[in-house]
């Protein structure tokens, strides 16, 4: 969905702290207006099916905070570029200092705890990863809210806010990966 705008598709403002009830209302409205059963002509039905798929996709992208942030960050970065921001100043791989080292040690501990069946240690590691993820989601939201509020031609501050959002988002992917690969999450599936 990086090529289109899920916010525009559902008639919602471009913001991270979306009103989730409003998102739900707009989604239901848009889905019902574009339901293929409302159309009799096969071509109209096919078009409606395409629109419904796009609406579902947009809803999914906006419901999850991480993918909502990804969508918003892409849109804001494209907007900044369109307004003449210096080309690709952002470091796409930016990470908080020591994060990789910390993550490697945490993953090694998780591997050991899994091998020895140490459930309390596993639970503690998973709780740590979720806490880190949640804290970084808050920081990510703050950076995106700041970026969205800045004048589009304030390249320096906008660039800094977008870079800080990118850094948090990158960090979140590592914690998410750890949570996804933790034994308790895998067993839930």
């Amino acid at each position: 969905m990086s090529t289109s705008d899920p916010f525009a598709l559902l008639g919602l403002p471009r913001r991270f702290d979306l009103d989730l009830a409003e998102l739900q209302r707009r989604f239901i409205q848009a889905s019902s207006a574009n339901h293929p059963d409302r159309f009799t002509d096969p071509l109209d039905q096919a078009d409606a099916a395409d629109r419904s798929a796009a609406i579902n996709e947009a809803h999914r992208a906006l419901l999850d905070p991480q993918s909502r942030a990804e969508a918003l960050l892409d849109l804001l970065a494209a907007q900044a570029k369109g307004a003449g921001a210096p080309a690709a100043p952002a470091d796409a791989k930016a990470l908080p200092p020591n994060l990789l080292m910390e993550m490697m040690e945490a993953r090694e501990k998780m591997e050991e705890a899994e091998a020895s069946g140490d459930q309390p240690a596993l639970a503690e590691l998973a709780a740590w990863a979720r806490r880190e993820r949640d804290e970084r989601l808050v920081a990510l939201g703050a950076a995106l809210t700041q970026a969205a509020a800045l004048p589009i031609n304030d390249h320096a501050r906008l660039g800094a806010a977008l870079q800080s959002a990118r850094l948090e988002l990158n960090a979140i992917r590592y914690f998410r990966r750890m949570i996804d690969q933790s034994p308790e999450t895998r067993d839930d599936r």
Binding site: L95, M101, E102, M104, R107, N170, Y174, M178, Q181
Partner: protein
Amino acid sequence: MAYSQKVLDHYEKPRNVGSLDKAATNVGTGIVGAPECGDVMKLQILVDEATGKIVDAKFKTFGCGSAIASSSLATEWVKGKTIDQALEIKNTDIVQELSLPPVKIHCSVLAEDAIRSAIADYKKKRATSAAPGAPAAGSVQSQSASV
């Protein structure tokens, strides 16, 4: 996703899994990650200081099968090479050897980055330990995880 036979072979029987003493001055440690997916990879080299050759290599990768296979292959390839020869290993060589599909090319990039990062760490330690009165090369160990 269909993995190639070579990827499966490395995935099922990974070579050189493990750790070397990262505080040792003749060990270089590289830790790299792929923000696209959250994979983390650690690659370590043990260098014979007399010959400048890599005599042992270990890795640990938490990620997909292709990332594990790429790092497993990388440890096999660096062994017996001098550090300058090891720097010549390109991610495209790994892609070719493992027949990685385009969506998994970043796994091979990760492995190349890990080799470079391990060598850079080794060189940095050598420079530090050569300086008189410099602290022992164990600084990486002080950055413990807050878990």
